[in-house]
């Protein structure tokens, strides 16, 4: 099982659990397993097409999946997968 780390603002959807164990073999499978277990997360993590929202970063270990194979990045047993909110904004 891999371990998915849930960021603080999303823990209200996971009964305050900070992590989630998954048997998914890709990032996509891991994220979909998470949102099927905790439905309230769906609109915050996935867009209307079921893809990971552009403002959500996912890391496998210390690597951004954008530098790997995006949501098809393989996830091995004992990998740590982290969801990290992209934080940005400003006047315009």
């Amino acid at each position: 099982m891999s371990k998915l780390i849930i960021p603080t603002p999303l823990r209200k959807f996971t009964n305050n659990e900070g992590s989630f164990n998954s048997s998914g073999s890709t990032v996509r499978e891991v994220i979909h397993e998470l949102v099927s277990t905790h439905d309230g997360l769906k609109k915050h993590l996935l867009d209307d097409n079921g893809n990971i929202r552009s403002f959500v970063r996912v890391y496998v270990g210390e690597d951004d999946i954008k530098s790997l194979n995006n949501d098809l990045t393989p996830v091995a047993q004992n990998d740590i997968v982290s969801i990290i909110p992209a934080i940005a904004g400003g006047i315009a």
Binding site: P7, T8, P9, L10, R11, K12, F13, K43, H44, F55, R57, Y59, D64, S82, I84, P85, A86, I87, A88, G89, G90, I91, A92
Partner: protein
């Protein structure tokens, strides 16, 4: 939301010191019916380009903030940033990238004074609602 004097001072002085650029950082404390802000972490504005109108926080800094919260036994409650020469009101960009649960403190700042400090939270429809600051 209640903000300690020290935390308020740290955030507003950051807004003044980094003027005309936008400042940004995290704040921490206790959650509850009335959140209490006790700790502040200033972070680098990692936005490439015009930092007078935009800010960004790197994933590495985000992970540091989560780690700090664990170590200090406080909760990561949200993000603050400034709006130089503009009202302390969220922009479309602020809302698009906002997460639920977090509080978003926006500091309106002029060259030599703070004009307004507001805090917002996303509701279930992903719209911002104003939080009362004591």
């Amino acid at each position: 939301m209640k903000i300690s004097n020290n935390a308020y001072q740290l955030m507003t002085s950051d807004a003044l010191e980094r003027f005309p650029n936008e400042c940004c950082g995290f704040f921490f404390g206790e959650d509850g019916d009335n959140r209490t802000v006790t700790h502040v972490m200033k972070v680098n504005n990692s936005k490439e380009g015009d930092q007078r109108r935009r800010f960004a926080i790197s994933p590495v800094d985000y992970m540091k903030a989560e780690a700090f919260a664990d170590e200090q036994h406080v909760q990561l409650l949200g993000i603050y940033h400034s709006h130089p020469l503009h009202p302390a009101w969220p922009s479309v960009h602020d809302r698009e990238q906002a997460m639920p649960w977090f509080s978003y403190i926006i500091i309106g700042v002029q060259p030599d004074q703070i004009t307004r400090v507001n805090s917002f939270q996303l509701n279930d429809d992903r719209l911002f609602t104003l939080e009362t600051i004591e």
